[in-house]
Symmetry: C3
Subunit: 336 residues, 3 copies
């Protein structure tokens, strides 16, 4: 395998299976030897910029911890304090910002979600614009299209509880009811990476909640390549049959941007009506004693019941912890 040094990570699909597995194995080793001197100096005296167009809980905490555990420092930056050029205001171009940041730091993480953009895909384009001009690796810390660190953390959790070979295991990726209008990023990343690892993927969501067609096409290709099954259902129950993993998560409709900006209130109103789409113990009984996972924060009582989220098959805290380990591995491989 070629070194990953200098590589960007915008979506796991853009890394080879071999590269992803190497990253997961390093993350697993880093978990087992969390403060081993082998790792604690990897980014010594180095700076990682975290660039939050959107605030975050887990992502800020886990990336900043990751840099600290590798001996470096993650700077928390918010674009409100950067005078970037926009259509309406004078300011700095992405080219200039990126080229200077590359002089200071060993890597750059960017988070940009729905409410900071005017149409699906603009966040992805902005990250790629930074990556274009920056000589240091750019890592998505979640954007409108993808969330590669979450995808790797999910899979690391599955590997721990189901074994390293996930081939033939069935993932139910299921829409969750609630007072939310969440991004497609975690869900799209999940079905992309799981299908590449040979898992059978069932995507279950109400009518009108289709994901990005280009992503679905890619998932189909991944499944074909790895001899896995892919199906979509609009029934809130049937996808649970025989599932080994249930991953519940609310997401928005493709119409969220129809007005030219993110219509959060409208999306929440639609989502609140679909009360059947809660993951509960009755539905979980149809599964093959499935693990329950979710990228957190969970909207308990809407997306999933407390009984399931806090039950013995829930791996939510392990997956959240894995964010730390996979991000350390990514940073070590691309930035050290």
């Amino acid at each position: 395998m070629k070194s990953l040094k200098g590589r960007d990570l915008v979506c796991t699909q853009e890394w080879s299976r071999e590269e992803l597995l190497a990253t997961l194995e390093l993350a697993e080793e880093m978990q087992a030897k969390r403060y081993d001197p082998k790792f604690t100096g990897v980014l010594a005296n180095r700076t990682f910029f975290m660039f939050f167009y959107n605030p975050s809980v887990r992502t800020r905490q886990s990336f900043e911890c990751a840099a600290t555990e590798l001996g470096g420092h993650a700077q928390f930056l918010e674009p409100k304090s950067m005078r970037l050029k926009t259509a309406k205001t004078a300011g700095e171009t992405v080219e200039d910002a990126a080229k200077v940041m590359a002089r200071y730091a060993c890597g750059l993480g960017i988070r940009i979600l729905e409410d900071k953009i005017g149409a699906y895909g603009e966040g992805d384009a902005l990250i790629r614009e930074y990556a274009r001009w920056s000589e240091i690796p750019v890592v998505s810390m979640a954007h409108d299209k993808f969330h590669p660190c979450q995808g790797l953390a999910d899979v690391m959790g599955l590997r721990r509880h189901l074994g390293a070979n996930l081939k033939g295991k069935k993932l139910l990726q299921v829409w969750g009811h609630g007072a939310l209008a969440r991004s497609w990023c975690s869900v799209q990343e999940s079905i992309l990476i799981c299908s590449r690892l040979g898992m059978d993927v069932t995507l279950a969501h109400p009518e009108g909640y289709d994901l990005d067609p280009a992503v679905l096409d890619q998932v189909k290709k991944n499944c074909a390549e790895h001899k896995a099954r892919f199906e979509i259902t609009h029934d809130p129950r049937e996808g649970y049959e025989g599932a080994d993993v249930v991953y519940s998560r609310n997401w928005m409709t493709p119409h969220a941007y129809d007005s030219g900006e993110f219509d959060k209130a409208g999306e929440i109103e639609k989502a609140l009506a679909l009360t059947e789409w809660i993951c509960d113990a009755a539905k979980m009984k149809r599964t093959n004693d499935a693990l329950f996972t979710h990228p957190m924060p969970i909207d308990r009582g809407h997306e999933v019941t407390d009984e399931v989220a806090s039950g013995p098959r829930s791996i939510i805290y392990d997956v959240a912890e894995n964010r730390l380990h996979v991000q350390k591995a990514i940073m070590a491989l691309t930035m050290a």
Copy 2:
């Protein structure tokens, strides 16, 4: 003494005298050997989360320095950027937030004061809720009821200037005039810890400025146990007689929350009228050449005159510095 590893610190009253004295002794050693290799790696590569519901000067500065001096890193987090569940909005439960933070960090500090709560005691309850779910130590960085780090810093200052045995020394804890409506936390912590160390405590405040009755009961018990005197006066001068330490500080009335939220403006109006309650040189002449202390920031010209605050018996900067040392000691003992 049992190890303090893993212990929460919400109020000094919940730690034994032996544990408090061990903490003070370690803080004193850490002051004497500030950058000694014995201490500079204690939290190497570890993260301490600072969770500020309320902003702060000293607390942010001193906790973040403390982590740095122990080789670790303190992350500055503000709940406005955390989507926590409230009565009105979807979000994460304290249980989920705390359990994940425990996977990332070695400790969690929380600051929550008057204007972020609807009734006295809610801040204390929230900190205990975090402590309940978190496997890592939770430390109060000041809340509506208590301020254990300030209490320890105060006592460390008194020990330096009066000797390690404070038994029989008289503390005047006196209300201060001003355009302020301050928390009870520092004052309540002071009379709790000082009474446990055997100091005679005189609490002086205008009528209507009573503190928490449960705290006063505990102070009385502490005094009884340690054969110390406790008295309350509503005269702005007489408490100064024979005092060894004068600790001036504005605080709010018990009616601050009567409207269901913190009535800062109303409290300031009441406090501004009580101009006699300034600590000045004339009043200090009645004392036993008392030390002057205050947890800062000081409202000079209201709570205390410049002559006293900047005078030769003022220990305000030493006490402020002590915040660093006691917090380092607490972190080393509970989180290393």
Copy 3:
């Protein structure tokens, strides 16, 4: 040369030429040996406070990186979260704030610009007030009058591309058109430090854009002492003749505060009309194949064309990078 330990840096004019050259030489060595163990422990376990009255891009990034690369930690503090005393509100005095900060940290950086003050000079006065009370070095991170770190970074760039001896080289310091109302600080610092290093200085700006007369007097004195020429022109082209360095930058008029607060909108309106004052290839042809520099962020298309800013003689990214190296050198010399 006497040690710089403990010295403040408010303007390069207040340091001797010998001290500035020693700082530049150390910065150059630090660039050549960026992560050499000789430097990576210089501020080990030490805290540098960054006190941002105004937000910033480069300054935050470069100072925080600088502390990290020296083994220390830069704390990002914003005065909105410090309850400082003002004419209208109770709060802490600068004396108290500074004296306590000196107990925690090894140095203090302050940034305060136009929109946070009511008249030119108030920012400079505030920094000097902090320096008066603080026992630790205070460094300007840009204020209304001066920007010493930018001045040193500029000169470090010139030394790299023109050689260490800048004597007799011609600097054109030229006003830039645009939708901006920028501070005088970088420009004033540039002509002060360049004149002290023996460069001929031509200051070119539209009528009505005079800088601080006291600074201009000092530049004249510097030129006299070092046998260099100083001239002012109000023609947008003629200053380019024979220039070795062209430094373009928008700045405000001396009338920006006439209303008692910073009139940004009014300044922008004036500046937008002066379209001739763009630095472009045609003007650059008049020079002695001059380097182009700018302190960034650049308002491309207004202050300067893309062709020049991204051209082969542009040293903007090098100068931006130099901020890191000179700040590391300043911190090492004054705070270690």
